[in-house]
Symmetry: C2
Subunit: 234 residues, 2 copies
């Protein structure tokens, strides 16, 4: 079964842009063929091709299935790495295991100060389809760390950080099930002391992610999966 992503499908019952082109030119879909479309907002549509052109593929909906959203929401906010490959795999893997929001911020030690979200967006769409999910994570650039931190409104806010004088509890132990979470993951050069202080002023709890030193993108994925684990376990 061919899978498509069309964010406004509930309104237009058609594929447009790249998805219409792919349907017409690559898959050469004909009238009457069955396809599946998700709007990335929780719905799957079983549908049949009415008319396919490279610009628009009109579909007749047979059935709409609504996927139940998770009872918790995960935002991972991180400093993008210099090497975009590492961020790309994080977005792919986090989408596969399930994530709601990926936010990119810039810190004092950030190795990268700009992001092209378009390619990451495509990777997320592809991973969403691959893992048979109907929710597309939101990817966003949130700018300067110092502007971003005060506005985080999640019920549980964490920063992955190991201070010199003590070991904070593992994220698996601090996170409570069924919450909205935000976890901050620093750049390879770590957060500065001023950045840490700012998070403490805004109610972020320090958390560890294990006994080994992790790369930025590994820490981000480990945090995401730890939050799923907290919710599977009770």
């Amino acid at each position: 079964m061919h899978l498509f992503y069309q964010p406004d499908f509930a309104q237009i019952s058609a594929l447009t842009d790249d998805e219409a082109f792919h349907a017409a030119k690559v898959l050469r879909l004909r009238e009457g063929e069955a396809v599946r479309v998700t709007d990335g907002k929780g719905s799957w549509f079983d549908a049949v091709v009415q008319k396919s052109t490279p610009k628009r593929c009109d579909l007749t909906v047979i059935q709409r299935t609504v996927q139940t959203p998770r009872s918790y929401r995960i935002e991972i906010a991180l400093a993008p790495t210099k090497n975009m490959d590492r961020i790309e795999w994080f977005v792919e893997k986090a989408t596969e295991i399930g994530i709601d929001t990926v936010s990119f911020f810039y810190t004092r030690h950030s190795e990268r100060r700009n992001m092209k979200l378009e390619r990451l967006q495509k990777i997320a769409v592809s991973a969403m389809k691959q893992s048979l999910q109907a929710f597309l994570p939101e990817l966003k650039e949130v700018g300067d760390f110092s502007n971003y931190v005060p506005g985080v409104s999640a019920a549980q806010k964490f920063i992955a950080h190991l201070p010199e004088d003590r070991t904070p509890p593992h994220l698996l132990k601090s996170a409570q099930p069924g919450q909205e979470y935000t976890v901050l993951i620093g750049p390879e050069g770590d957060f500065t002391e001023a950045e840490i202080r700012l998070t403490q002023q805004h109610g972020f709890e320090m958390a560890t992610l294990g006994n080994t030193r992790l790369r930025t993108e590994t820490a981000a994925l480990v945090a995401c999966q730890a939050l799923h684990a907290v919710n599977y376990l009770p």
Copy 2:
């Protein structure tokens, strides 16, 4: 501090081969410089360069630190993917978060029937150093699935599989802390029914890894991290 890996360091107090070459030609280490060496078997050696040539770098050991091994052991056994990049990132990430053994087997639906372990070995060494660990995971090709399965001796043996008629418990719920674990991860085309039957005859428990369909290498990493979670939580 420069980090090196020398498996027989306890015996020879020297770097050889690539590590000696790297020390002499790339880093141009001189007499008296401080370095750190791990044997990949749990020891760190703080040492000082005595004499460095591209073939051998003799060191004087100042101090040996022994890392306590984990109270549990993780083996992930998987069918290698067609695309080696995916296996390479799995080995890198699993080494970073901690794994004891990665075994590669061949099944009926395997997309790849041969493995070059040399490059994976280098990736594991680099990830071990990067994450400041003194244990190098064992990477091995274990051949045909049907020959490998009967010999698995771990206390807890799992197969990541979702049968059509029921949903087995999540690995997080079935795994007990402090055990030796083996988890089997199938190829993209999944295990055959005969392969599943064989695992059932040899005491493997079926386990799920979440609510989404995961790629082989993602499932392998999720399984590895779930086993860590089981051991962090109690």
